[in-house]
């Protein structure tokens, strides 16, 4: 009874590889088609990161929740509320650091409530986070119904953070005026990359991370093996809300405004990124690297459409839909193959 299953064939790794390859194909395709419009510059790639820094944080949290087999659709509204709080708070003269801490604290409290409802009261995560979504969107309007911009006058510190360029020592280009343009990212990107690395390590090398997989694989089994499923589920939703608040700050640094309609549908972007990155909605399979590339793929599509300039702005949605469809089909094919090999 020698174990002869091939180590190389692991469908989950394969999915991740497909995602990465797809990103490369898209990106190279973009470079070839729109090279003349500056798509080949390293900065184009960095701009995708800058625009999506918040989404990367949110997608990391979403992946953790989805690993347990749950879902958190409150994240978009929570981001809107975060941004509005930041904008209005600073307008009222509260310091940038204080406001950021308040926003993070709100994320923790919000996560505790959602996590408690899902984990301990065993209410459907969809319903819980839908309620959370309505609450946040509503609260955003309660705080302020107008669009509030954060200008240098309102808060110089926050303005400085937003406009800090972290230059990268390589990959620059010389523009048509003969000036060397050094590539740069914004602080939000640094935060997002840190979050990504921390969550990657957490999922792979900590007890909590592995228990998320266990709960998603089979909650009943996890309980039988002595894991505290309720606590783990609660932890996942707390993590999601906290990361969402971190993402909210990154998002706000990018938009520099608070508005009721901000980040509409961002939760769906996060979910689609995770799914394209190989996370199963049923739980137990996936990782943040995949979700990261999922975000990049969505970002690249938007970027290509924007660079083209002639395509309607609804095309990214349609392309994302097509990709989602393809990935779901691939996933179910893999699942079928696996079932047959048994």
């Amino acid at each position: 009874m020698k174990a002869n299953s091939k180590k190389s064939f692991n469908s989950n790794t394969l999915l991740l590889v497909i995602t990465i390859v797809l990103f490369c194909v898209l990106y190279v395709g973009g470079c070839i088609a729109y090279g003349s419009k500056g798509f080949t510059h390293f900065q184009t790639f960095l701009n995708i990161l800058i625009t999506n820094a918040g989404l990367i944080c949110v997608a990391c949290g979403m992946t953790c929740v989805m690993l347990t087999g749950g879902i958190d659709i409150s994240v978009g509204a929570l981001i809107a509320m975060d941004c509005m709080m930041l904008a209005v708070g600073m307008e009222k003269g509260i310091g940038a650091v204080t406001m950021v801490l308040i926003v993070l604290l709100v994320g923790v409290v919000f996560g505790v409530v959602q996590g408690f409802l899902v984990g301990y009261l065993e209410i459907q995560p969809f319903i819980v986070s839908m309620a959370g979504m309505f609450f946040c969107r509503g609260m955003t309007a309660v705080i302020c119904t107008d669009q509030v911009s954060i200008t240098e006058k309102i808060n110089a510190t926050f303005y400085k953070w937003a406009n800090t360029k972290v230059t990268i020592p390589f990959g620059g280009y010389v523009n048509n005026k003969g000036k060397y343009m050094a590539p740069y990212v914004r602080p939000g990107v640094i935060v997002a990359i840190l979050v990504l690395i921390i969550i990657f390590i957490m999922l792979r090398y900590t007890k909590f991370g592995r228990s998320l997989y266990a709960v998603g694989g089979s909650a009943q089994s996890a309980a039988m093996m002595g894991l505290n499923v309720k606590k783990i589920k609660m932890g996942a939703y707390m993590l999601s809300s906290i990361l969402c608040s971190v993402g909210g700050v990154c998002y706000c640094l990018n938009t520099m405004a608070g508005s009721v309609t901000q980040a509409l549908g961002l939760e769906m972007d996060a979910i689609s990124s995770a799914v394209i990155g190989g996370t199963l909605l049923t739980g137990g399979v996936g990782n943040v690297i995949g979700s990261f590339f999922g975000v990049l793929i969505n970002g690249t599509i938007s970027s290509i459409v924007k660079t083209n300039g002639k395509l309607a702005s609804s095309w990214p949605n349609i392309l994302t839909a097509a990709l989602l469809f393809i990935f779901i089909v691939i996933q179910s094919i893999f699942a079928a193959v696996r079932a047959r090999r048994k």
């Binding site: 592995r210 996890a222 093996m225």
Partner: protein
């Protein structure tokens, strides 16, 4: 505590709403023995096990475990694991999406100095554990890449590595094939040598005699006895489980009519459904009542479900009234003139919030299709006719069925199928849980239906009942049809056939 005893349970009692699930049950497990816990479904085996593992909260009695002072009361499976009681269930309770090693160590992973998981160390330890048990697997592979048997063994390995003194195996073999079962047995024997006390729950009689040292029998929640394996031959075991004493069985004689000349109604060849019933042949003539005998869980219902298409047959052919048919789902069977009264009438039979009338016409309406609705007058006429025919005691035909007694509910379901005018009727435990008077009415009705030329497949746990009504009996054991008895139907003969084996 006695020498060599690892676990005792004394006077365990437990009630579920309305049912006494366990009544003063004793159980003793010794070091290094494999102890079978036997009983029919509903005898209380699982309830007892859940009491031992902390899932159920028993009301009276005490459990003692070697090395623990005083009575033990587990609050959760984790408590039970901590004092050395581990359980492996029929469905593998591991996470398929994690590696074998992770499944062995999750919840108790070795940590590095940085408080991260020490993957190298637990992979190495897992390899050693699996080697020690003689199971060769790549521990870094996901569990889902391995067969159920291996998964089962990983679950056992996890239990053993957690220093369990008592290993409970709850129907571990039901989804394994013969070769896998043998592997499991050799693992069990290995553990036995190490001094682990094993409680083995199974409904496969052969397996009990292959590995066990001792048997405890439960019946209807009560303790029947504890026997060394040598003192309890199969027939006696079956008698103990069913609660019949062979010696006082009165022979019941029955007139026999030769049905073999009658036209064939049902002709099944090699039908099977993976995991529930092995290929079987079965012929039923017109007007014949065929009984299916066997212990609960031996595949009686599964055989019927396979014919009826409730579990789609994966192999074999079926002919109805001489015509080859393909039955994919119950509606196909209904259209070929079959009807089936399922054994779980709460879950599969009655629709509690509908009236008696609506419950009666349900199958007929389904057979006619959604768009050919029966008129109200037709419905009432049919309801009246069958309420009268099967003597349903109900205030009116528009009474909700949930207000009727169990026996009357059963009659309504019987009426439902009679209303479709079937040529072939499958009755799965039609008399379970109903009073004696109603039972005999139903039995009479079966004989009467057969007299009218309908064929009946009759499943019951009560052998007398089948002896009274059946012309022929099919014997089931361990998911397999093992024989037929068509003459000299006697209780002793049937029980011997059910027990099988040499004794």
């Amino acid at each position: 505590m006695e020498e060599n005893v690892v676990l005792t349970a004394r006077g365990i009692s437990m009630t579920f709403p309305g049912v006494k699930a366990l009544d003063n049950v004793d159980f003793t497990l010794r070091k290094g023995e494999i102890h079978a816990l036997m009983g029919e479904n509903g005898a209380g085996k699982s309830t007892l096990i859940k009491c031992l593992t902390g899932i159920n909260d028993f009301e009276a009695g005490e459990i003692r475990v070697e090395g623990v002072d005083g009575p033990v009361k587990n609050r959760s499976t984790k408590d039970a694991q901590n004092i050395g009681i581990s359980t492996v269930y029929q469905e593998v309770n591991l996470c398929p999406n994690l590696s074998v090693a992770e499944n062995l160590f999750i919840g108790r992973e070795p940590l590095t100095k940085l408080h991260t998981i020490d993957r190298k160390s637990y992979n190495k330890r897992s390899m050693k554990i699996m080697e020690d048990l003689g199971i060769s697997v790549d521990v870094t592979q996901n569990l889902e890449n391995y067969s159920l048997a291996i998964q089962q063994m990983v679950a056992i390995a996890r239990a053993v590595d957690m220093d369990c003194k008592v290993l409970i195996l709850d129907e571990p073999t039901s989804s394994l094939d013969d070769e896998e079962v043998e592997k499991l047995f050799s693992l069990m024997r290995k553990l036995k040598e190490k001094g682990v006390g094993i409680i083995f729950v199974t409904h496969f009689l052969e397996q009990v005699y292959a590995v066990c040292d001792r048997i405890t029998v439960l019946r209807n929640g009560a303790f029947v006895g504890e026997f060394p394996i040598a003192e309890l031959p199969r027939v006696k075991l079956v008698a103990a489980m069913m609660g019949k004493d062979l010696d006082d069985l009165a022979e019941i004689q029955k007139e026999q009519k030769d049905y073999s000349k009658e036209p064939m109604e049902i002709e099944a060849k090699g039908l099977s459904h993976a995991g529930t019933i092995k290929p079987f042949d079965l012929n039923i003539h017109k007007g014949e009542v065929v009984g299916i005998g066997g212990l609960l869980g031996s595949g009686r219902s599964e055989l019927a479900r396979c014919i009826y298409g409730a579990d789609k047959a994966q192999t074999g052919t079926l002919a109805v009234a001489g015509q080859q048919v393909k039955i994919n789902q119950p509606i196909d069977a209904m259209n070929k003139g079959m009807g089936m009264l399922p054994d779980d009438r709460k879950a599969e039979g009655i629709i509690a919030d509908l009236s008696v009338r609506e419950n009666i016409i349900l199958a007929l309406q389904a057979k006619r299709g959604m768009f050919k609705q029966l008129s109200r007058a037709q419905q009432e006429e049919i309801a009246d006719r069958y309420i009268d025919l099967v003597k349903i005691k109900t205030a009116s035909k528009d009474t909700l069925i949930k207000q009727l007694s169990g026996g009357n509910q059963q009659k309504v379901i019987l009426a439902r199928w009679l209303a479709t005018d079937p040529d072939f009727l499958i009755l799965d435990e039609p008399t379970r849980g109903i009073d004696v008077g109603t039972k005999s009415e139903i039995q009479k009705l079966i004989v009467k239906l057969a007299g009218e030329g309908k064929s009946v497949l009759f499943i019951s746990s009560e052998i007398e009942e089948m002896l009274r009504t059946c012309n022929r009996m099919v014997i089931m054991r361990d998911g397999q049809k093992v024989g037929e008895i068509d003459h000299d139907l006697s209780q002793e003969g049937v029980m011997k056939a059910i027990a099988g084996g040499e004794s």
